[in-house]
Amino acid sequence: MSLISPWRADFPGILALAAEGQTYLDSAATAQKPQAVLDALLGYLASGVANVHRAQHLPGERATRAFEATRSQAAQWLNAARAEEIIFTRGTTESLNLLAYGLEHLLQPGEQIVISALEHHANLLPWQQLAKRRGLELVILPLDDAGSIDLQQAARLIGTRTRLLAVSQLSNVLGRWQPLDELLALARTQGALTVVDGAQGAVHGRHDLQALGCDFYVCSSHKLYGPDGVGLLYGRREALGQLQHWQFGGEMVLDADYHEARFRPAPLGFEAGTPAVSAVIALGAALNWLNGLDHAAVARHEATLHAELLAGLQARDGVRLLGQPQLALASFCVDGVHNADLAHLLSEQGIAVRAGHHCAMPLMKGLGLSGAIRVSLGLYNDGEDLQRFFSALDNALELLR
């Protein structure tokens, strides 16, 4: 008896890939989209598009209404206090770059930005470059053996000079929830701003940002079963008020002269130029679809799949997991086997997994690895996907050993 996903049939993409002989296990990179998202995209594009926030005409009004409805839905999804606390960006990477530029003016030479050793390049490089621009110190919180940020060390390293903490909620390599409550408390004690990278975390479970109490939270639509090209930047109202504008252009301005201008507050002041209107509207459809699911059932399904994945990997000789993953994904390498060889042979057999450094080069170097294979799960994956993966893995290892 194989584990069945009751949501699989809602995803034309996963079915099409399966028909092509492809087993998609790379949802942590990007997720397939439910039919509701395809319908919303086509529905909007086919019924007459218009730009948002600009025109008085009916199509413009309709587009703006649908666009703003997604903002409200996203606020609700994350339990933000108000829709104005949600800024649309192009993705998590842009959200983090926006923050690194928007907060730059608050940071003085010699002050510290604190991140962790497991950060994706998107939550490392913007801060690294900001530190270089402003003469700041970038402090890296170390991990314990399981792959969690070490809280004892964090308590020692987050100090009076810490002005900003930016950490991931769920690691894209290690698959572990990070101890955000404790870390955010440490940062708040020092009066530091807090940024949470929710690119992976937002996809699993529901998160209450008011309860979490971070200043900023960022995530991407494309991993959350929505279209690509859209990201969310949540900011507490007080925190958003501290952001300086960073991109300038259409519709972010209140009043412009040739030599001076005044800008809108968030969110529109941070959405210069025409946004990804169709993608934002379709993200609303994704959130709507997700809202309709039985969340306990989704969590159970994901947990069962993940347990099967771990059990299968651990049952195989020489397979070494990176850290102790808790959900969503597992990264591993195999003793005596180059991950590029394994990746090559898995892809020959139609297994779509990710190989390499997973946009976390310093983490991989720290683990002493040149790369690893990552299997990541979406709610549409089922027991047969895992069986196909394991059988391909066995074939590949037999050839390579």
Partner: protein, 137 residues
Amino acid sequence: MSLPVAAQEALAAFAACLGWEQRARLLMQWGERLAPLSDAERVDEHRVHGCESLVWLIAERSGEHLHFRASSDARLLRGLLAVLLARVDGLPRAELASVDLVDWFNQLGLQRQLSPSRSNGLNAVLQRMRELAGRPA
């Protein structure tokens, strides 16, 4: 322009392949045939950057002819390097510039290894090879 002997041999072997397993085995066998590089040669100067695996490529020139040696820490990539060198090794520079290497991998049934999303580095190797070939003696 006739195919070098090693290339004819590769073509015959890969054309006879049935399925991915045979192809993988064959690639690994070809990889074993690569002349090893010494530690002194496996240095940054000879690294081909832009691949996630380690790849080294060395070009030696005798007159108008180019002689390449290459290696990698990944076995299948060593095989890909071997079939690449089988096609181009020892060619005069002018002829090297005109070899359609994409077509060569196509003929071997290995075209997917050149797709732009590949991080195996084969594209970077081809690029590097053209640079080395184009350098003045």
